[in-house]
Subunit: 138 residues, 2 copies
């Protein structure tokens, strides 16, 4: 798998509000995966979660994560990133989750009863499957 | 996360040719994720891959995997399964990859130059996000 940075076409791909899956490591070393919203900002992936989600425990214990992103229109196109969580912050103003909710739903986040947690992933490696049906790069 | 079996609505969901992501564990214990075709057959997930794919090394070393499946029409609906690979077989007749290719593309698999490998995942736990926008079960 090639190292970062991403070729420009994949950079554009990530800037769209595409469906994604985050994989984390459970306490016993096995993988966990779940769908997630994300934002792509200056070469980092922004994730945001309810403080009760188990994946928050996972990334606090082991910051290594993988993210796979599908093209929303053509799901044969997808990109995977391997990397690590480099920063975890308290989103007490709900600023980050609102940014994600507006990106994906055009509306601020609905549930404003309790705080959220933001985690920043720094990708290290990537592999993608492009429009011509080939793994990129081969 | 609840144990198997799946409620019937998720069983139906898995029987469709939906986009999915498989997460495996790399040699260093970090997660790897990539998009995959799958089939759902008698409570097991069938996966198939080129013998050169790194995820084959991963599952031979550590059979624990996670799978997240999106509804093809409505991305907001998704299901995740945790489990393990219980059987790896040589698909030398290309029967299994043809079954997947026909399921997803309505055509037999294009590349017939070399063999394929089939891996069967047995799910142990599941969690889903349903049509009403809630994590199921809560």
């Amino acid at each position: 798998m090639p190292l970062m940075p991403l070729p420009r076409e994949w950079d554009t791909f990530l800037s769209r509000a595409n469906p994604a899956v985050i994989a984390t490591i459970r306490k016993d070393g096995s993988p966990h995966s779940v769908a997630t919203w994300y934002d792509w900002h200056k070469g980092r992936i922004m994730l945001n979660m309810d403080p009760k989600r188990v994946r928050l425990e996972h990334i606090r214990r082991d910051p290594r994560v993988a993210l796979t992103v599908f093209d929303k229109q053509e799901w044969e196109i997808h990109l995977s990133l391997l990397g690590r969580i480099v920063e975890i912050t308290d989103d007490y103003t709900l600023e980050d989750i609102d940014r994600l909710a507006i990106r994906y739903t055009r509306m601020p986040f609905g549930n404003r009863d309790h705080g959220r947690i933001t985690a920043w992933m720094e990708p290290e490696r990537w592999h993608g499957w492009g429009q011509d049906g080939n793994l990129v790069p081969r």
